[in-house]
Symmetry: C2
Subunit: 425 residues, 2 copies
């Protein structure tokens, strides 16, 4: 099922081609129109689009206390416990990312450093329908709340008057989401970006979504912050003879079942392992509820690459910069130093990606499509701003003045030079 490559073939494969993630112009144009409309006309336009795309305008856009309370009665205790335990682990991991303001220099004449301050208002987008993931609520909200964001809002669509998945509401309560709005798609992004009478604007929008939501985030980027523009999910597995073919196959399938465009790549030091994995893929897929999706993804976007040694595996793997990287080798920790570019790394035979997707602590919002070469998964840092500060005494300014004035003159900014001159004369 996996397309077989050797080292050379993989180097010239489409997996290493820099392709533009850009949405096509048609989508962009229609999305822009919705955003402009909502920015201009507020609630009136917003409600119109909700009716158009989701069938029914909810009585109240803001989910009420009663609705949130009622959700708890609809979720079984096993799920509530699992959510609580996951939230604890995620909190514990992210808490350790918190940092203090820093002082870079402090002497008699100069005081300089960085203030760490939280973003004030954040909006989390949570898709509805089959891709309605409570784990997304945990992963997006926890770092925001820990960072000290004052207001964490959430938006999720209500289709044809159907109630919101109660597990989402319970997850939102567990992590402390302040407001939840019944609005989805481009409308939600536009409302968060520019505000309407009912939905206050936020400073940053995070969370997954379909191609339209992604286009909307790209369009409002700059007016508000966004987390990233995510592409299809992907996993790369580096495996040696010690790997269990059944585990490897299960993890490739877990990736593939997301989406027909999901990517699953196996870098193997053993030809035999590749054969066994392919057999396992067939067997395991045949009894999978999402068989069709997984099979298509594996056939179209699945790859096995036979490498000559572990360094070759990591050379190719770093070139891919996968969202998820599993290292199923005999000595996985010894490979960690070879990782240059990846979203998140899962080490050893008992650390499947699924464990991290839901539960262990690291964030599951990760850079896709090779963007791990320049960006990171979601963390507390995404909700913090660093403001530099500087104090110079009169004496310190005098010492610096000649150099500063010289540089200002070089750039023909005489006003800059005079702002120094006035103070030292």
């Amino acid at each position: 099922m996996l397309t077989a490559y050797n080292y050379q073939e993989f180097l010239s494969s489409s997996f290493l081609k820099k392709e533009s993630n850009k949405t096509n112009r048609d989508i962009m144009d229609s999305v822009k129109k919705i955003i402009d409309d909502i920015q201009d006309k507020g609630d009136r336009a917003l409600l119109g689009y909700i009716e158009k795309f989701d069938g029914v305008i909810p009585e109240n856009l803001l989910v009420s206390r009663e609705e949130r309370k009622a959700a708890w009665k609809l979720v079984d205790t096993k799920t509530i416990t699992a959510l609580r335990n996951a939230a604890e682990n995620i909190k514990s991991f992210h808490q350790k990312q918190l940092q203090n303001s820093r002082i870079m220099q402090q002497d008699e004449n100069i005081y300089a450093g960085q203030l760490y301050r939280p973003i004030e208002r954040v909006g989390i987008y949570v898709p509805g329908g089959t891709a309605s993931y409570p784990s997304s609520v945990l992963m997006n909200a926890i770092p925001a709340v820990l960072a000290g964001v004052e207001n964490v809002s959430m938006a999720t669509p209500v289709r044809n008057g159907q109630p919101i998945n109660p597990v989402l509401l319970v997850a939102a309560d567990i992590v402390g989401v302040h407001n939840i709005y019944k609005v989805g798609g481009v409308q939600a992004i536009a409302a968060f970006a520019y505000g309407t009478e009912t939905i206050p604007s936020v400073d940053k929008i995070v969370g997954p979504g379909n191609a339209y939501v992604a286009a909307a985030k790209a369009l409002v980027y700059g007016d508000v912050g966004i987390d990233m523009i995510a592409g299809p999910s992907e996993v790369a597995i580096v495996a040696d003879e010690s790997a269990n073919a059944s585990y490897v196959a299960a993890d490739l399938i877990a990736q593939a079942e997301h989406d027909p465009s999901a990517r699953a790549i196996l870098f193997s030091l053993s030809a035999e392992l590749i054969d066994r994995v392919n057999d396992e893929l067939k067997n395991q897929c045949s009894v999978l509820p999402r068989e069709e999706i997984a099979t298509e993804a594996l056939n179209v976007n699945g790859a096995s690459v036979l490498v000559s040694d572990i360094d070759q595996a990591f050379e190719l793997c770093n070139a891919v910069a996968p969202e998820h990287l599993e290292i199923q080798t005999e000595r996985p920790l010894e490979c960690l130093g070879k990782v240059k570019h990846a979203g998140s790394v899962f080490l050893g035979h008992y650390t499947p990606e699924a464990l991290g997707d839901y539960y262990a602590g690291p964030n599951h919002v990760l850079p896709t499509s090779g963007t791990a070469k320049f960006s990171s998964g979601l963390s507390v840092d995404d909700f913090i701003k660093k403001t530099t500060f500087l104090y110079y005494s009169e004496a310190a300014l005098k010492d610096a003045s000649e150099d500063v004035m010289q540089l200002a003159k070089q750039e023909q900014l005489e006003g800059h030079s005079r702002a120094i001159e006035k103070r030292i004369k």
Copy 2:
């Protein structure tokens, strides 16, 4: 010259309106065409655009060692000393931002943390012509080099065969820029983003530019990283009776001389100070080389706001989230805790913004147009990616398995559940 506001008036002024920074569609379309062309046809298209926009195709796009060496003879020693001293200060400040990989958890069964890894290849854009700023080279390159970026490239246009400003080349040498290419505008951004035969692609593009460069950066964002989309520069000054009107005016002018659309706002606790500042502005502008630009900026985008107390000043100031914030009060350090949103803060009567623009250490690449509410100035962090890692033992996975499988089933991702199940049975 400054338009006078009181608290209420300022609250409903255009300074606090969320306006879209988005470039208009016409610019976007023409910029997209250039990018697509260069992505498709490489050097052939690139050279065509260089000829079209800059008049002459340089013999070699890559600045030679000889050209770089020759530049040193064309720059006076006073400037070289000033550049070296500035570079030292900027290095010293940014060095203290460097962080180590972190371990969040490490016990018998679980090992989890974050790897800090540099971006591999960075491209710095440096505008040509009158806005050719050597300080930009220092501010953009130093954090990249300190972060451990392997290849720092720079692109700057050569107009009509004119040589590159030698101060730029000297600055690039001082900070260790690896390659310099003679290409500007949208062409440079496209070449950095997608690579051509002559110019290798990079992973992240940083640096200022005009509206076309900004549009190009917005369009390639996602395929490569970018620093930010910068708007016009701005300063806000909070001043009390202790402030020197001549210094305040000089700093407002230093901002205003950049650009007719630059913003300069004075929050004053004293009506008398506002009057004196206005008088100073008139006098100082009248003898300024860039008088016209500065006067237009102050008349159109200048504001004085009389506030009743220091808290009111900071309430309004945080609502603006200015790129630069000067606090010219009697006890400036005591105000630092009131700053929520700003790019960079300058404290006291002897810390003019110009000192930070060139010299003191903090970066001058800062969030504009209120984006300090959700983003930060350039720092070493912008050139580092954080990759999370996770190891679970078999026993740890067994402990977690029930919860993880429960959550996977809630999301109807049976393949995720089975990836756990296979390992614990």
